[in-house]
C-alpha cells in the first residue's frame, strides 16, 4: 500500500505567484514529484515578497514564497535561452502533469504550449491558469488576485452599506479560490487519464472559477435585476449576526462573532447573559430580524465587558455559534488549530526554522504532509539535470557558465 495518495505522479510546474503554486502544492504535499521550472530571468515575484526571515528581503528569504512551495524541487533556468528550453523539453516525457500560470502568450512564445508538449508526451494533462483565460479580448490582462477580486465583484459586496466605500478582503482573494477548483480538476483529470489513456488541456480563467463564489448573486441579477450590495454583517438567516466588541485585551480591541440561527439558540444566548430583561420583539426570529439595530445594541451592551474566550465557551456550551475575531497572532495560539496540528515549523536551508501553514484537510489512510520546506532557487538544478537528464558535471558547469541554468 502506498504512503501518499499521489506517489509516482510527476509534475513539471512552470507556474508562479499564487494560484499555480498553491495548486501544485496540493499535489506535492500528497507525494507527487513536483519540479518547479523557475525562470532566473523572471524570478517568481513571490520570492521577493514579504514576510522575510528577520525582515530581510532576499530571493531565498520569503515566507510568502515558501508557504506555497513546500515539498517541491526547484530548477532554475533562463527560459529565454533556447538551450534552456530544449533541456526543459527533454523533461516533458517524464511529466504526467504540466502546469503554468503566465499570461497566455508566454508558453506559446517559448514553444512550450499544449500543442508542442503533447508531441513530446501525448497523454500529458496540462493546466494553464491565468486571470481571464487563454482566449478572448482580455486574455492578456495583467494583474494580481487583488484586482481579480475587484473585477469578480467581491470588493463591491464588502463594506458597511451602499453609502460607504468598499472594505475589501485582505490580499489577492481569488488566489485562494481558484486553486481549489484547479486541484480538483487536475486530480479528476489524472484519474480519467489512468482509466482512458487520454490526457487533456485545461484552460482555467481565475475570473471564471472565482465567480462560482458569487453564484447566488449572479443568478439573482440575471433573473430579477437585483444587484447584491454591501450589507455590513446583516443577515437574513441569523439574528443576532455580527461582530460585537468585548472587553479590551492588552490595550487592544477584542471582538467576537456571534450568530443565532433560531429561537432555541436565542434562549441559550439569553441564559448565558443571565436572562436579562429585553425587548419583547426579540423573542422570535422574525422580530429580531425586523429590529436588527436595537438587537445589535442589546447584544453589544451584554458583551462589552465580557472576556471573549470565556464567553465563547459559555455561548458554545449553550448551543450558540460564537468565536473571537482572531488576528494573525491569535491564530498561531489557537487551541483548535493546534489540536488539528495545523502549524508546522520546517527547517529551510537559508531561513532556518520557519512557520508554514499546514493542510486544510486530513486523509486517514494516506495523509499528506509538508514533506520538505520550500526549495531555494535552483536547489535541485544539478540533481534534476544530472540525475534525470544524464548531464555530466562538466556539461552542467558549462551551462552555468553560459547562464543557461542557475
Amino acid at each position: 500500500m502506498r504512503r501518499y495518495a499521489l506517489e509516482g505522479v510527476h509534475v513539471l510546474d512552470f507556474a508562479w505567484v499564487g494560484v499555480g503554486p498553491i495548486t501544485t502544492k496540493y499535489l506535492a504535499d500528497n507525494g507527487a514529484d513536483v519540479i518547479r521550472i523557475e525562470s532566473a530571468a523572471r524570478i517568481d515575484v513571490l520570492r521577493l515578497g514579504p514576510p522575510w526571515k528577520d525582515a530581510q528581503p532576499g530571493i531565498n528569504n520569503s515566507q510568502f514564497f515558501a508557504s506555497y512551495n513546500s515539498s517541491k524541487k526547484s530548477v532554475a533556468l533562463d527560459l529565454s535561452n533556447p538551450k534552456a528550453r530544449s533541456l526543459v523539453q527533454r523533461l516533458v516525457p517524464w511529466a504526467d502533469v504540466v502546469t503554468e500560470s503566465f499570461t497566455p502568450k508566454a508558453m506559446r512564445n517559448w514553444g512550450l504550449d499544449y500543442e508542442h508538449l503533447r508531441e513530446l508526451k501525448p497523454d500529458v494533462v496540462m493546466l494553464s491558469t491565468c486571470l481571464q483565460g487563454q482566449t478572448g479580448p482580455n486574455a492578456l490582462y495583467p494583474g494580481f488576485g487583488q484586482l481579480m477580486a475587484a473585477l469578480c465583484g467581491f470588493y463591491h459586496i464588502s463594506g458597511y452599506d451602499a453609502d460607504s466605500a468598499p472594505s475589501p478582503p485582505y490580499g489577492a482573494y481569488t488566489d485562494f479560490i481558484a486553486p481549489r477548483f484547479a486541484a480538483a480538476l487536475l486530480l479528476a483529470a489524472l484519474d480519467y487519464r489512468r482509466r482512458s489513456g487520454r490526457g487533456q488541456y485545461i484552460d482555467m480563467a481565475q475570473y471564471e472559477a472565482a465567480l462560482h463564489f458569487m453564484a447566488p448573486a449572479v443568478i439573482d441579477y440575471f433573473a430579477t435585476g437585483r444587484v447584491q450590495g454591501r450589507e455590513g454583517n446583516r443577515s437574513q438567516n441569523y439574528a443576532p449576526h455580527g461582530a460585537y466588541r468585548c472587553r479590551d485585551e492588552d490595550g487592544n480591541e477584542r471582538w467576537m462573532a456571534i450568530a443565532v440561527a433560531d429561537d432555541v439558540e436565542w434562549r441559550g444566548l439569553l441564559s448565558v447573559f443571565g436572562d436579562p430583561v429585553c425587548d419583547k420583539r426579540f423573542a422570535t426570529m422574525a422580530g429580531r430580524l425586523e429590529n436588527r439595530k436595537a438587537l445589535d445594541e442589546f447584544i453589544s451592551t451584554q458583551v462589552r465587558d465580557r472576556v471573549a474566550a470565556e464567553l465563547t465557551h459559555q455561548l458554545q456550551a449553550a448551543g450558540v455559534s460564537a468565536y473571537p475575531v482572531q488576528n494573525c497572532v491569535d491564530i498561531h495560539h489557537d487551541d483548535n488549530l493546534a489540536a488539528f496540528d495545523f502549524w508546522h515549523w520546517l527547517e529551510h536551508k537559508q531561513m532556518g526554522a520557519s512557520p508554514y501553514e499546514g493542510l486544510q484537510h486530513r486523509l486517514s489512510r494516506t495523509p499528506g504532509e509538508l514533506r520538505t520546506p520550500a526549495p531555494i532557487l535552483g536547489e535541485h538544478s544539478d540533481e534534476v539535470l544530472g540525475g534525470m537528464l544524464g548531464l555530466s558535471a562538466e556539461e552542467i558547469a558549462q551551462l552555468k557558465q553560459e547562464r543557461v541554468i542557475f
Binding site: 495518495a5 462560482h212 437574513q236 450568530a259 455559534s321 489512510r365
Partner: protein
Amino acid sequence: MNCELLKGFRMLDLSDDKGALCGKIFADLGADVIKVEPPGGAPTRRIAPFLDDKPGADTGLYFLAYEAGKRSVTLNLESAEGRDLFADLVRRSDFVLESFAVGYLDSLGVGYEALTHKNPRLIYTAITPFGDTGPGKDYKAADIVSWAAGGAMYLMGEPGKPPLQMSLPQAGLHAGAEAAVASLMAHYPREIEGVGQRVMVNMQACVVWTLMNEQAMPILHGDYLKRSGVFVGGLDVQRKMVFRCRDGYISILIIGGPAAPSTVALVNWMAEIGFAADWMKSKDWRGWTPGILMKATEQDRIEVAEFEDRVQAFFLTMDKQHIYTEGLKRRILLAPVATVADVAVDEQLAARKYFVTVEHDTLGRALKFPGAIAKLSQTPIGAPRRAPRLGEHNREVYGDLLGLSAERIAHLAEIGAI
C-alpha cells in the same frame, strides 16, 4: 452534455452550507450526486435570500446555485428503516459527504466505521468547523464565525467600526471546494488500490488559507495588520487600494519594482490629461517600492500621498468602464470594483461564452448561471441540471438503483423512513 471526468461515480451528499459546493463540483464533473435530504428538506433549501423574495423550498438562491446538478431523495436517518436504506445506498456509492455535528452519524450507527464495513472502497468526507479532536470539536460555526476564527474577518472593515464578513458568506464555499480537492485526493489511490478512507476538512483552516502572506507577519516582522478600509498597511505607510471614480470605484496597484511599467503607463496617461506632477514623469519607478520591499521613508510617504491624491482627482473625471478599457489598452494594473451587473455584461466573459442557461420547470423560467469552472479539451463541462425538488428522485433511486418495489417505497414513505 454531462462531463465525462467523474462519469460512473456516485456521491451521497448529506451536507449543508459547509459542503454543498463540493457536491456541485462533483456534479459539474459528471458524477451522479444524490442529495440525501431529511423529510423536511436539506437546510440549504431554507437559506435566504429567495428568488423574487418569495420563500419556498425551490426558490432559495443559494439552493438554486449550489444544489444544481444533483438528484434528491428523502431519507430519515433517525428511523431504523431509513438507516438500512442509507446503508444500501452507501454500498452502491463511491463518496459520502456530510457536515453534521462531529459524531452525529456515529451516534446513529452510520458513521465512517460502520459504513466502511459495508463498502471498503468508500470515501467518507466530513466537513467540520474546527476539526474533530480539539476543544472546539463540538462547536457550532455559522459562516461568519468561521470567517472570524480563521482570521479573515479581522482584516476587513474600517477602524472604529466592526470587523466584517462579505455580504455573500464565503467560508462554507472554501470548505466545500476544499472537500472536493480532498475527496478526489483520496479517490486517486482508491481507484488503484481499491481501498477508501476517511477525509476530514477543517473549515477554520480553510479560512486561514485565505490570509495570503499575512499569517507569518507577526512572527517574522513582529507586526500585523489591522482593518483599514480601502487602505492596506505596508511598512510604515498605508497604500490606498480603492479610489472613487465618477460612477463607482476602481481598484489599482500603484507599485514599482517588477510592476513599474504599469505605473509608468499610468503616469503617462495622467500626463496626457494634465494630472501628473513633473516629478512623477521623471521618476525611475523601477526602484520605487515604499512599504513593500523596504520601510517607507519620509520622502516615500510624501510621494505616496501626492500620487494617490492625483490619481483620485484623475479617476473622478471618468467612468469605471472607461478607466478599465484604457487600463487594458495601456496595460495598467487596475480593475473596476465591479457589481454583478458589470460582470453580467463583461465582454471577456461574453467572448468565452461563459454564462449558461438552466431551464427551471420548477419555477417556470430559465435562469442564467456561472458557466464551466474551466475549459477542458477532452471532457468539457456543460451546464448543470436544475436543482431537484425535494424527493424528486425517490422512485428513480430507490426503485431503479436499489430495486425496491413501488409497494415497498410506498410503505417506507408511510412509516416515515423516506
